[in-house]
Symmetry: C2
Subunit: 111 residues, 2 copies
DNA sequence: TTTATGCATGGTCAATTGGCCAAATAAGCA
DNA sequence: TGCTTATTTGGCCAATTGACCATGCATAAA
């Protein structure tokens, strides 16, 4: 086992990876990413389905953008977002099995 | 597109998924999970390679445990941790492609 | 049965986050 | 040009996070 480096290249990589996961680690942002998996959307389309201030939505998108999860493109008056690397959402089947494993445990406890 | 629900079952699922990603969204915790992918380890083994207070390490493990990412088992004086659902780490190849995509962009900007 | 080891927990504190509001900017339209 | 719409930005505030230290607790060893 190698030491978790406090600085340097290896450290930068693990920090970048963690940043991606962290960006997706918020219900609103994860939901956004899932919607974008079906194709690009403009901010106004996303906003239509999220009950939050427009500025809040914009900031969540900025977090995803900074993490490299999405890219934005201005077309006319609107800004369109899309997933930069679509596989980012494939993972969810595994994440869901974590949820299921937890649920099974609770069932066992009740039994 | 369906509305992001403020409560209810769908909301609970997306929150649970986000919680898993959030738990992995910290360099130290992600590193821990990657180490555990190679097999279970006791806290002392992990601690040996992380430059942080023992209590800090213990709390990070508690976060992973609460998110359902790892399970712990006490054997003798030590507590062993392992991944509950090993696929959780397979994802990293995709996360890394996000990083690479970002890096390529920077290269283009320099060119 | 005292002592030492391995780990978890509670307290504290600075830093970060996530939300809203108000204001700034950018692009098309009258 | 001035107006409106779409989005971002800055300011602010409450809540959460992550780090440390000190303490508590269980297990094994002496």
């Amino acid at each position: 086992m190698k030491k978790l480096p406090p600085t340097g290249k290896d450290r930068a990589l693990i920090e970048a990876k963690a940043a991606v996961l962290k960006a997706l680690g918020h219900p609103t942002r994860l939901w956004m990413a899932e919607q974008l998996a079906e194709g690009e959307k403009c901010v106004c389309e996303l906003a239509e389905f999220i009950d939050a201030d427009f500025s809040t939505i914009s900031k969540h998108l900025a977090v995803l953008r900074q993490a490299g999860v999405v890219v934005d493109e201005k077309r006319g008056k609107q800004v369109y977002y899309r997933l930069k690397v679509p596989c980012i959402i494939n993972y969810m089947s595994c994440v869901e099995s974590v949820i299921r494993a937890g649920a099974e445990e609770q069932v066992k406890m009740l039994a």
